[in-house]
């Protein structure tokens, strides 16, 4: 069941004109911003499929940039997102891609600054619901509807148990979890969707595990 809440159907409250091309795009942009964790110096956005064909008419461009500025789907500042990004000194580049993707509404976002960059691929599946399907080359599934923690770690025994113990101690319930790795023994990624927003203390605790390289949280 892809849609679990009635508010996936009656909602979201949003700026028009398209739930998949506007609200969904804003949500993909916002997840990228949260994952990056700070204001980027540049944002390179690639549109695929129906996004590439019709993004101007749907305001997909302003919506995705609005998301990168951390605006919610109903934030009326979305309409002026391009000029607001310019004011904040964020360089925006958009590309229409011809490549065929699995889903008709796909966008790739690269956010970066002098200290680093992230690259993610998101799809907008309808009614404003999105999935993040790739992060820094890792294949993943993330609904964007629940708080989540992404943990980049070394692919070694005890990593999952270490994180799970901390979550259990803080009485956090795991709704969905997935682990993937680039190669055996190399960099790996743990994606954990949870039921409630995460306390910064908990993130610090996970970060302090020797096996963990980076922790990112996404609040609801």
């Amino acid at each position: 069941m892809k849609y679990k809440s009635v508010f996936d159907i009656i909602g979201p409250v949003m700026i028009g004109p398209s739930s998949s091309h506007t609200a969904g795009a804003a949500r993909i942009g916002r997840v990228a911003r949260h994952l990056f964790g700070r204001k980027p110096e540049y944002a390179h956005i690639s549109f695929y499929g129906s996004f590439a064909k019709t993004y101007r008419g749907h305001g997909t461009d302003v919506a995705i940039v609005g998301g990168i500025l951390d605006f919610d789907t109903f934030d009326t500042r979305i309409v002026d997102a391009l000029s607001l990004a310019e004011e904040q000194g964020i360089e925006i580049k958009m590309t229409e891609e011809d490549a065929l993707t699995d889903h008709p509404n796909t966008a790739k976002i690269i956010l970066g600054d002098q200290n680093g960059k992230i690259e993610l691929v998101g799809i907008s599946i309808g009614g404003g619901k999105i999935e993040i399907v790739e992060l820094n080359g890792f294949e993943l599934k993330l609904s964007g509807n629940h708080p989540a923690i992404l943990i980049v770690h070394n692919d070694r025994y005890g990593a999952i148990a270490g994180v799970a113990n901390i979550l259990a101690k803080h009485q956090i319930n795991i709704g969905h979890m997935r682990v993937s790795r680039k190669e055996k023994g190399q960099e790996a990624l743990m994606i954990i969707e949870v039921d409630q927003n995460i306390d910064p203390v908990l993130i610090e605790e996970i970060e302090s595990l020797p096996i963990v390289q980076q922790v990112v949280k996404i609040n609801e």
Binding site: V6, I10, V13, I15, P17, G57, G126, G127
Partner: protein, 295 residues
Amino acid sequence: MFRNVAELVELAEAKECKISDIMIEQEMEFTGRTKDEIISQMDRNLKVMEEAVERGITEDVKSHSGLTGGDAILLQNYLKSGKSLSGEFMLDAVSKAIATNEVNAAMGTICATPTAGSAGVVPGTLFALKDKLNPTREQMVAFLFASGAFGFVVANNASISGAAGGCQAEVGSATGMAAAAIVELAGGTPSQSAEAMAIALKNMLGLVCDPVAGLVEVPCVKRNAMGASNAIVAADMALAGIKSRIPCDEVIDAMYKIGQSMPTALKETAQGGLAATPTARELEAKIFGIALEKK
């Protein structure tokens, strides 16, 4: 948890409650939130819908492209003349559906039901019913839960996205959802709601998604208007005791399969249908400042 319309109706009948109650209960189970929290969130969505309808029927809303806006007011004025052929209630619903979609096209604030492109049908019918049946606020919120329950089934078993399933999946779903909710608000049974949904959706099957210039304006706004009228007629038919020969879940399945066999040009790519007509191509070139021969 219900997975299809048959289970939804069965649950409501077994518990002797309304479809909307089943949806609220399921939401409580899924999210662990209280009934009050869930109802107040839906109440906020209702308020957004109300404000969009109000804005659309009173302000001269114009979209950025200039393709849409002002038609809801035209209909409201026409209604006041007392000359309407299809009846005041019907046209009031139609104008309120248009109002919502005009606000949507102008990048105003709306609540997706189930999507932004189809956001007019459910509130359009609801706010016309508000004047006709004088429902309580609680009943109006219940209307949204009832329509949400049917939309939930469509979204999980077929699609609610024009890009995935054509306009039948978008305005078609909204029309079925509204028809079912109207039946509940008007005092019909859960199974009558299912019949109304089936009848309404049956008459939207095959509807392609062909937005002119890729904008959610033409024909989307007027399709929401027709969706609202279709929903009202389907609800009346079901309340009269008429049944759909094809069960609701099979209609939804048929819609899904039609969507899958529809060519990409007719699924929100602005490459076929009305979007490919000479006038649409001219409008597109004008709006985006592109030379026509490049299209």
